[in-house]
Point group: C2
Chain length 586, copies 2
Amino acid sequence: MADVASLNKEVQEQSNLLKSLRTSNADANLIDEAKKRLGDLKKALGAATGTKDPKEGTKKKDRLLLKTPKGTRDYGPTEMFCREYVERIVKDCFTSHGGSCLDTPVFERKEILAGKYGEDAKLIFDLQDQGGEQLSLRYDHTVPLARYLAMTGLTNTSSKLWQVGKVYRRDNPVMSKGRMREFSQADFDIFGQWDPMIPESEVLSLLTSILTRLEVGEFTIKLNHRKILDGIFEVCGVPEEKTRPISSAVDKLDKLPWADVRLEMTVEKGLDPDVADKIGEYVKLKGGEELLTKLEEDSVLKNSARAQEGLKDMAILFRLLRIYKITEKISFDLSLARGLDYYTGLIYEAIVEGSAPPGFGTNPAVPPSQGTESAVVAPSKPAKKASSKSKAKSGDDEDEEIDESQVGVGSIAAGGRYDNLVGMFVAAASGDSKKVAGLPCIGVSIGLDRIFAILWPKWEGRGMRAKETMAYVISVGDGHLEQRIELVRELREAGIKADFYAKNKPKLPTQFEAGERDEVPFAILIGGEELTNGYVRVKEQRWQVVDGKKEKIQASGKGELVKRTELIEWLKQTETLRTWSSGKLV
Amino acid sequence: MADVASLNKEVQEQSNLLKSLRTSNADANLIDEAKKRLGDLKKALGAATGTKDPKEGTKKKDRLLLKTPKGTRDYGPTEMFCREYVERIVKDCFTSHGGSCLDTPVFERKEILAGKYGEDAKLIFDLQDQGGEQLSLRYDHTVPLARYLAMTGLTNTSSKLWQVGKVYRRDNPVMSKGRMREFSQADFDIFGQWDPMIPESEVLSLLTSILTRLEVGEFTIKLNHRKILDGIFEVCGVPEEKTRPISSAVDKLDKLPWADVRLEMTVEKGLDPDVADKIGEYVKLKGGEELLTKLEEDSVLKNSARAQEGLKDMAILFRLLRIYKITEKISFDLSLARGLDYYTGLIYEAIVEGSAPPGFGTNPAVPPSQGTESAVVAPSKPAKKASSKSKAKSGDDEDEEIDESQVGVGSIAAGGRYDNLVGMFVAAASGDSKKVAGLPCIGVSIGLDRIFAILWPKWEGRGMRAKETMAYVISVGDGHLEQRIELVRELREAGIKADFYAKNKPKLPTQFEAGERDEVPFAILIGGEELTNGYVRVKEQRWQVVDGKKEKIQASGKGELVKRTELIEWLKQTETLRTWSSGKLV
């Protein structure tokens, strides 16, 4: 065991080191060295498990490969403490904004997902046909929600639903940036007939609250409107049937220069170069309300009824966003197109400024948000591969070498209005394509793994704990198992999370070490004369990171003598426990 | 839309009605009538969607079947409010007992699951081979945990890990009893070298806390010890190679009479009838510590060293359980065997008394806990099918008619000590079967769907809300959209969950209705002279169930005038908000 386990651990540590070097933009030599060492360790591990050497075919078969599937990973205690925190904040904001929870199965009947994701359908995980239904793992939360709404006709109950859970895509993973094959998304959707742009501003206000409370760093929410975009295509002379392909090309402007996008439009998609140039003039525009004024005055756009509808929406939206006090987070960006066909109105995407890959800072107004071809926040191809179509063999399992340092976290949340999706399901179920009684919807998907990828280095830097245990009960001298269990039981019953060392007569230093490993703030000592007299000794301690290392701070010297019968009340009065009870993490 | 959706809704409502009739043991005629009506509705729905009539082959193909996969379901807002509550309590108990969280992927490499579940392996969901790894959905949390421990050699960090998540089994579902193909389990495991029975009593104390805090009703934790059981088989004369098959037969005693089990032993498994009868004398024993004394004095059992080891463990355990004050929940039951091979010491199973199916009450000491063949809480075959082996074609998708009223919820939690599972992984990975550096483990799995199945009728009876919204902001007169948004924004920022009606000029009754539908306790009215003078009017209301119907109770007549600037402080001082802040559900 020692060999494989300790090598595994070393690989993990080295991989973490490499990540933090990259995150902190360390010297290139240091990074190279760390990379080499990681490679060596991986080789050693391969040799130890006999799994990485294809020449030794027989040996390979004999041994079990201990790993998680490609693009997935385990999250251990410290990471889960952070992830649970993120989820708690997100859910709190969801319910603060009037949302109710929905939970759908992790797999759906295959035909439910069919025809919803365009060419990304190849990324869907299918279940094996074991007799019975054809099933697929869900690709996002939006399609299951639409299926649920079509099934229940839930127009008269809650109009705001949220879902938090994992979704699945057979894409090429970039693990350190939170681009996984199994990843967590938190969705919030508002449906029903409401007045223009009120649900839109509710969703944007929600997104702002979440990103602010999570302290992800400086962020921008890019906005655009499908009707304005389509109106631009119209007045520039894009034939109707080319509207969506040209829109897809525009969507790549966040990772490709205009020259490349223009080439795609003209050469690949056969657009008249003059038309492309006219589009180019529009889609480079970004800004705030002044851009809206400019577009409202644009005499060419006046010829498009669609564009005028979109502009009217945007004017209402900006007025509402001012009331919500979130205009400074907003960038009206005509290059934002979002890949999926089903958006019908406002579209948006949140970008964290600091999460761009190095070297991408040349045009700070255009952060690199890959992964916009999909409904929501997809774990898409890395930037450097974006233009090399021949290599984009998504879905295979060959290890492609991806230089993770060249990939940004990208967009951390995205969404838009999709007024026809539920209607599509209703029509398909009735067998009558004309019978589309739609249900207007708007939603946002938050990429929890990407948020985790951004928060985790900060969280580690602050040296956060992995547990909430508040009291560690320690025996001095004779073991006192019975007294320890009794005290722990009472503490737990009083809501004070407590633990003890599960041996009959553990040594004092061993118990202290165990409590300190979990950074338990209160060590409660029982034993000797004090125990006989009805007292316990309480030592308070806390930890902080000094120069990258954890240091213990003894808050109370030899500790305080507290009456055993008054201990629980005493603990509850401490600053530490009161802070913790108020929901703050210690 | 109207047709399918409203029929779907009717089917759901009728199905709920049928369930509550059964739960409340209503008159048989009433139940039959409700059953018939449900059948008619289902037929009507089938006709409307064109999916249930196999004669109309072409029509079937044209239409999309709007449903979740077999054995899975959606959980809507009210149900999720209850499920989230259950999860919160469970997690709180887990962290109270010193646990740290672990999260593993929903699928594993197929070879990781291979050879762990005996004949239940046929219930594993496999993913389709899409090029690359062979994957399967996880069957429980125990095997992924063991794989994680073998990979990381995590012997020096936290020794208590918990996981909450969905697991998957292609079994025949009984939905109303929480026996699903996709179901939620909450696991807690303790690993490492500790003194005898201390981890065991920690786990039992944890389980008792959880079931008590969740108010599942009267429950019993049945205990047995693999070494005692194996010792009994030894002294009765069971050949070593028949130990596990005979143990499997004993395990069925909770759903089959002794005569049937004896038949399985002698006819099917070729055991000497005299040996079977000797076993029969032991396995009918159950009780508390007095049973332990009886067994300690048993002169025949003295001949088995294994049995004596087990009895020694049980003596220590009973002493510890007294300190934890949970002996009255415990039943030492020699008929408990648990199906899986990998248990090596104490085994246990929690049963809720009230959840037995009707007609099973003849022997109250033997509650019907189906589903003990699996590692943990399995969604196993219903009682009436238990003995008809020929029909047990698990894994197919033909609709078997199951009379749900004849099936109990069964065991809601189960587990035991498994000291060799991690070692198995380590040995398999090293390719050296002798190199078993094991890691002693003990754990419990809690079946969250079964707990939900028990709690849900009570929860519904109490008329619990589906949301936490505390304030609904309502305009009187002129719409006041800006003022409503401003107030909602401020309330949310202050941590008071708030909402409003997303229209520009909604009618007063419409707004009241919307707030009342969500049972929001505070209606905050803005408008007119009061608004001009800087005041709002606050109306408090609450709901309670009277004779099965929800009734609104107006707590404050025409409401109170509160200064707009003092509103948030005023609300925070109310009893309602203080109760809610303390974590209690309103």
